[in-house]
């Protein structure tokens, strides 16, 4: 169940918009924060709070890629593999991470600490190659830099 604070937060979000459906996107972020990912229970609670049909919440969760429909590791590593990063070796960055973590793209380490993803452009192309770990950007990556970054999370 969502915490009391989370329910309150969702209710307060309705003040921002002329319709309660607009709250679904920010509310799903609340669900993701509370449960670690988007659970069916969480989606039904959002529908309930906002007076919507569950489908009106499900269809949003499934359309947008940042809502994790499955649990992810504590640190979600997302490497940009779009054009500017790829020109400067994004594939190599993915290989390095994959080797160091012992997992392939879309996989999570057995200790649930790291998930590795390849993603589209993250708007940091002038400092390519780059990756995002949870909310933070790591830019101008090299193998040594990755080593250091991973060490700080272990």
């Amino acid at each position: 169940m969502l915490s009391e604070g989370a329910v309150k937060e969702i209710n307060e979000l309705t003040g921002k918009y002329a319709n309660s459906r607009s709250v679904v996107m920010p509310a799903l972020y609340v669900v993701q924060r509370e449960y670690g990912y988007i659970t069916e229970e969480g989606m039904r609670e959002v529908a309930n709070i906002l007076g919507l049909r569950p489908i009106q919440v499900f269809e949003i969760a499934t359309f947008y890629t940042m809502y994790n429909k499955k649990p992810v590791g504590k640190y979600h590593i997302q490497v940009c593999t779009n054009i500017s990063c790829s020109l400067l070796g994004a594939e190599y960055i993915v290989d390095v991470l994959s080797k160091k973590l012992g997992i392939k793209v879309k996989e999570t380490t057995p200790d649930k600490k790291f998930t590795l993803s390849a993603v589209e452009c993250l708007g940091s192309c002038g400092t390519a190659p780059m990756m995002q770990i949870n909310d933070n950007y790591y830019e101008d990556l090299t193998e040594e830099k990755i080593e250091e970054i991973l060490k700080s999370f272990r």
């Binding site: 269809e59 779009n82 054009i83 589209e120 708007g123």
Partner: protein, 424 residues
């Protein structure tokens, strides 16, 4: 050297705080605007020649003038901060480093069109940017630049931040509105245009971050000053984000119309390792690529359109001679394929067929006739899609094939790349 306008505060310590902004003349334009007639402001923006920096290059003043004047109808401004066009990272710089410049531009725009509520639709991945904006908005309220009866006037304004959640199509303005209304981001049919029926069914202006950041400067320094920078039909300062195989990738603020060659060789320090340039994308991946002989093209809306490409977001992606164009084209096409919203058949199915053929060509499994097949498929998609995403995808691919047909054919015939490959 061109004196930066939009980026002038970017390297000042604590540039994102309101005190820094105020110390550098911030919110003076808004104060000045509040004393002007709204029609005067719209006319100034028209006269400045400012054209939308989100890609389409539509006159900003004209767009504002389409909003009905009836004060009883609620109106909205939406700032498009979805910045997802691969190669582009200019709006993020404004948001993270100088959010008040954007807020001031929005406040002036809202005053001019009579909007009492505005949203900044920021792409979900920009967590720092969203925080910076929330903080800046809070500061602006506390100093009386937002809220009720701003600076003693009868103008009131609320600005809200809405975070996207990972979907490139939200950058298309009508899809952005759908998303803000809590639905899947599927583009809307036009007409009706957002100026009549926009957010929550009300008249709405949608403007890009960089467009809005130009507005305070136009009010401060005048329309003719702005119009005197760069080409007459496409004036003003422009942010060029250079990436790829250059010595000094980065964001450069230059007059509109600066030749592509100068951007790459003078500002971005030329190609790494003194290698030769092979191709350059002038305005984000939707813009067809150019080659060496095109380097003297002035970087403005009209000159690039005349070359069959576009200024788009001003994102310059440079590829050196070792780059495999087939692979680059596949990466770009995979992106569009992934981001197609699925609403219309030509884009949903067409991009899917194209990606299948492209993959086999790239992976050495191409068949004779595949390149012609790709061009045929492009023709089946082009001009038949609901929104410009589908057209952009095939224009980008056609640009690659037309300039480098030999290389595509080589892949099919020899089952491998013509070049030994860059990418490290």
């Amino acid at each position: 050297m061109f004196e930066p306008i939009i980026l002038k505060n970017i390297n000042v310590p604590d540039s994102f705080k309101i005190e820094t902004y105020l110390n550098n003349g911030g919110y003076q334009a808004f104060k000045k605007a509040l004393k002007l007639n709204t029609d005067t402001i719209i006319q100034m923006v028209k006269d400045s020649g400012l054209r939308g920096r989100g890609g389409a290059g539509f006159s900003t003043g004209l767009k504002w003038s389409f909003i009905p004047k009836d004060p009883t109808i609620p109106k909205y401004l939406c700032c498009n901060a979805d910045e997802g066009e691969p190669g582009t990272y200019k709006d993020r710089a404004i948001i993270e480093k100088d959010p008040h410049q954007l807020i001031e531009g929005m406040a002036i725009a809202c005053y001019a069109i009579g909007a009492a509520n505005a949203y900044i639709y920021i792409r979900g991945e920009f967590a720092l940017g969203a925080d910076r904006l929330e903080d800046a908005i809070r500061e602006a309220y506390s100093k009386g630049y937002l809220g009720k009866n701003i600076l003693g006037s009868n103008f009131s304004l609320n600005i809200y931040v809405h975070r996207g959640a990972g979907a490139y199509i939200c950058g298309e303005e009508t899809a952005l509105l759908e998303s803000l209304e809590g639905r899947r981001a599927l583009p809307r049919i036009k007409p009706p245009f957002p100026a009549q029926v926009g957010l929550f069914g009300k008249p709405t202006v949608i403007n890009n971050v960089e467009t809005l950041a130009c507005v305070p400067h136009i009010i401060n320094r005048g329309a003719s000053w702005f119009a005197s920078i760069g080409p007459a039909k496409s004036p003003g300062p422009k942010l060029f984000g250079v990436s790829g195989h250059v010595n000094k990738p980065g964001l450069y603020e230059l007059p509109m119309g600066t030749p592509l060659r100068e951007i790459i060789y003078t500002y971005a320090g030329g190609i790494k390792g003194d290698r030769r340039l092979k191709a350059v994308i002038p305005g984000g991946v939707s813009a067809p690529m150019l080659i060496e002989k095109d380097l003297d093209t002035p970087m403005d809306f009209d000159s690039l359109a005349a070359k069959g490409t576009m200024l788009g977001s001003g994102a310059v992606v440079v590829m050196d001679e070792r780059t495999c164009i087939v692979k680059a084209a596949l990466i770009i096409h995979e992106f569009f394929h992934h981001e197609s919203c699925g609403k219309c058949t030509p884009c949903r199915e067409g991009l899917d067929w194209i990606v299948k053929v492209m993959r086999r060509v790239e992976h050495g499994e191409g068949k004779e006739g595949d390149i012609d097949l790709l061009l045929k498929l492009c023709g089946d998609v082009f001009g038949r899609t609901f929104c410009p995403l589908g057209d952009g995808a095939v224009m980008a691919l056609r640009g690659a094939i037309n300039n480098f047909k030999e290389e595509f054919e080589y892949h099919v015939k020899n089952k491998r790349c013509m070049v030994n490959g860059a990418g490290r």
